[in-house]
Amino acid sequence: MTQSTQRPGAVQGDASLSQKPPVGYEVYEVFVQPSQLEPHTHVGSVWAPSPEWAIQVARENFTRRGSAVNLWVVRRRDIAATPYEDEDFFAREFDRKYREVSGYSDNAQRWKRFKARAMSIEDVIHDVREG
């Protein structure tokens, strides 16, 4: 497994996609938070001369509709990312059912034999919130 990180805006070698001088117009990646119960989500990028302007342009481009409570803009060259080529980084080398709800679907049948009902996290949430 290679541990290299790569900016999403850069190609390998010297033909960088963000060969701009350090101060000037450059690419900012934009993240919108639709509500305070949701995380910021990457929505795209803008080309701006400063973080303040990136926020202005991001508001015009990405929040004309729908709700937003917060905006992040991040200079693309400040982002560390995995390279797309390194597929092994996300490899699932064996069955991961044991980590998931679907790995325990037999519980319901077994509860039935004890004349009891299986429960889910949704039941608990509903009960605690509304009950």
């Binding site: 850069a10 960088s16 795209g44 004309r64």
Partner: protein, 311 residues
């Protein structure tokens, strides 16, 4: 080396994988995408001009607001698409300034429909209904594009276009429900736009670059397939509101399962787009030139302000 990269690239394309800006790609893949997306971006921006002309004259406040919202959308779409084009153009040493200068110098084409006049409110309606309708068909056909950044931006654009579709329909429905004079105005607008709408999808023959784009899974449908989809969808609706399509030859060929139509004047309309000689080409390019040059001091001032902050 390059041959191995190319083979691997084509395997990825055939597996239906998405290509990213940072991935290796053949030069012609980059150039085909850049030409397509550059023209798409510029067309969004130039498409705002015929619509913005109608903002001060829109018949009601609601129409004015919705038209302004649409103009904002078109400019916004242009900016999203420019970002995608810029990342493709960066290894060629070209940035947004170069891409926008190409409009002024005539190095990039924009859609034929935006070279034309929109003399009445019914034209604004036909643009919203049928020009946007045609654009939605070509854009949805690109949603499965093999280039990830373009496919992602198109998803957002298509979601917003669904408002444009309703907006255009609302205008023409109001006119179709209106007085004889309003219906006549609508018919005259349709007469003006019909040929341009057929031209919009491009020539029926599959060019070399169109074939190459299909191989690279940039697009999956031919111009003629898309034009037929448009005709299928819109002809019944155009007729339903009592309009006559200005083409005596137009009929559905049951055996061939396709619409037969009078070909638009490919030569004349093609020249108009290539040479920017439409009735409104120069005026609208002039507006773009003015916006670009007269505001260059703002762009420079913003950069200088930032430089001063950074010291």
């Amino acid at each position: 080396m390059t041959e191995a990269l190319y083979t691997r690239f084509m395997e990825r394309i055939e597996r239906g994988e998405k290509i990213e800006a940072t991935d290796w790609m053949p030069d012609d893949y980059r150039m085909l995408l850049l030409r397509l997306i550059h023209m798409h971006a510029v067309s969004e921006i130039m498409g705002a001009y015929p619509e913005k002309e109608w903002v001060p004259q829109a018949p009601t406040l609601r129409r004015k607001l919705s038209l302004m919202a649409k103009v904002q959308d078109e400019i916004g779409h242009g900016q999203l698409l420019l970002r995608v084009a810029e990342d493709l153009a960066a290894p060629l040493g070209r940035d947004r300034n170069d891409l926008m200068n190409d409009v002024i110098t005539g190095r990039v084409k924009f859609h034929n429909v935006f070279h034309m006049e929109a003399p009445t409110w019914a034209d604004a309606g036909i643009i919203g209904w049928l020009v946007d309708g045609a654009a939605i068909i070509t854009q949805t056909a690109l949603l499965d594009c093999s280039y990830g950044p373009y496919a992602r931006v198109l998803k957002r654009i298509c979601a917003e276009e669904s408002f444009h579709m309703q907006h255009g329909e609302s205008i023409i429905l109001a006119l179709a429900e209106g007085t004889n004079e309003q219906r006549e105005m609508l018919q005259e607008a349709l007469n003006r736009w019909w040929e341009a709408l057929l031209f919009f999808f491009g020539p029926p023959e599959v060019t070399d670059s169109a074939r190459k784009m299909m191989e690279y899974r940039i697009r999956s449908r031919t111009n003629e397939e898309l034009r037929q989809k448009f005709l299928n969808r819109y002809i019944p609706r155009i007729r339903a509101v009592g309009l006559t399509i200005p083409d005596p030859k137009l009929h559905y060929d049951e055996a061939a399962q396709r619409w037969v139509y009078t070909e638009p004047d490919w030569e004349r309309l093609g020249r108009m787009v290539r040479e920017n000689t439409g009735p409104k080409s120069q005026e609208r390019i002039g507006l773009r030139r003015r916006a670009h040059t007269e505001q260059s001091w703002v762009r420079e001032a913003l950069v200088r302000a930032r430089q001063r902050q950074a010291v």
